[in-house]
Amino acid sequence: MVEAEQLSFRYPEKQSKVLTDITLQLTAGRTLITGASGSGKSTLFSLLNRLYPENCDGIVTGKLYLFDRSYDTYAAGEVNRRVGTVFQDPDSQFVMQTVEEELIFTLENFAVARDEMMTRVATILAELQLTDYRDRVIHDLSGGEKQQIAVACALIGKPEWLLLDEPLAHLDPETSTRFVQWLDNVAQTVNVVIIEHRPFLWGGFFDREVELVNGRINYDGPFVARPDYTFSPVEVTKGNVFLFHVPQLNKKTFNLASSKLTVAEGDLIAVLGRNGSGKSTWLKSLAREHQEVGLVPQSPAHLFITSDVSRELAYGHNRPIGDIMNRLGLGPFRNDHPLSLSHGQKRRLAIGVMMLSNKRLIAFDEPTAGQDEVSLRALYELMVERIRAGQTVLFVTHDLSFARIANTYYLMHEGYLSGPYDASLWNETELLQAHGLLLEES
């Protein structure tokens, strides 16, 4: 499908190249494109379905052929009939309200004859074992279900290739495993290219692998299965113990049972459980009930109220901010708007805010979602630094490899919090399975 020779790419406003000297031939089969954040894999992805260079005015040099024709000879939307795409974020790739309307949207774009549409919809849903979803409202589906629908919307156009951009980033381990198995079954006849910084989740799905490092191809050959990144437990020294009580909470669709959380100063706590089991709701309740708890939301940007970094740090108190600002490496950005920072910087600013407001417990909601290993290592360092300083850190996560750093565990299942557990939790197969935490590979 793709033939690239000495392909380079840069954004118009930047001098440095995102992709350099890429020579690559993508052939039939299942290909993995991997690499860290900023390695250029998402840029390469957007060149493959011709969203780039058109939509970013990027500058391409070298040869790039899609289906034996140069990329610039295609009209807008033309190549997309032969390449189906699934994006990372389940919440921002749909246009219509229901699954059926969404599928029809693709068919309308491809000018399929009207009387053929309904049969096509029925056929694809049956093939993908999704018939029950036909009349469902997309907004009400879970993340995993949305990704399946996104695959259906891509495949209904009968593409020759299917591209997926980190489709598992927002899914929990159990849902991820199920999605991979399902895709393995349904994608028998279509060629697949998947961007993924964590190939471990895909088991033996691929037959070829391309690794990018700093915009260059570092490896191109058969797929080598390898273990996930590993994090080792942090040694903690516990201080005084506190008890937090979280009251019962009843919502329309969901009930959170009352729970107790025992917290020692300097402890590192992980809260695990399925998507939708109530972890985030519980965390919000905890923060609402207790002044000493500082919540860092999944997107730290939600926390920011003011329009520059130093004012943000100084908000709501009179303590000096200089020391903490410099320790977190935010000094050079003191006058920048908090929303203009990178994700890592935003997270550090959020932590700075928590440190300055004298919170005893810093609670992170899903800090690992969509993060690559480098970013996780940075998060790890930040957390360790905090517990060494005597604060307690708690985090909610789906990332079982990262969760290993914790010293104490709590599990959430349909609104019920159980725990504390220690690291021996990882040997309790049944308990893990009941909470959707068991990967079949491990």
Binding site: N49, V95, T106, H139, A301, L339, S357
Partner: protein, 244 residues
Amino acid sequence: MTFQEMNPTIKFMTVTLLMFGLAFMYNPWTPLAVFIGTLILQILFSNVNWKRWGLFMVPFLFTALGTLWTTLVFGKETSGEVMFTLFGNDVTVENVILAATLSLRVLAFTALSLLFTLTTDPKRFVYSLMQQGKLSPKIAYSVFVGFRFFPILKHELMQLYETHALRGVRLETRLDHIRHVPNLIIPLLAGSIRQAERIAFSMEARGFTGEPRATYEVVAITRNDFLLASLLIVLFGVSVWIGI
């Protein structure tokens, strides 16, 4: 034959035409006749939830009463026969007619608008605008995406309020919430722009170019559409005649 089934573009054009015409009628009887006639047509040819209708009507009823009151009390001094005295102001016949005209016009406008809004499915209206009104798919589908954005934006807004409350922003009363809105606009916009860009990419990747495309949902024009449109126009004609 109901207003629900009526072609939305034709319905929109007819209703707009009537409103435009009403603006030139300076007597109280025409708007009154249009108001009553619209209600009768709505009862005959549609299946409207009258409780909702009533709720929507309430604010406009107040507007109408307000118009009546202010025109009576603060109306221009006119010569003519004085009908009665209100708070020391002489109210003439001319004053009363003018006040009734204005307030009945408000009511007639509202009845016509509600006839349209309460019997029109927004999705069908956009489809129809695309098919009969030659609206560009680019604009039409922006509207569809907009529909999807509402729940997402609402969710995002709630999250912002929650986290800001946790940071110690005073958000106890409704007034506190309203006062805090200016601080939320930038984060909300930043989030929305990112989302919008992602959706745009996703649409293009699925072959949407804004060029003419196939349509599954055909919103046809039938004989009934013209019948209903003529009924409305006849109603207007009769109302004008009553006014003269």
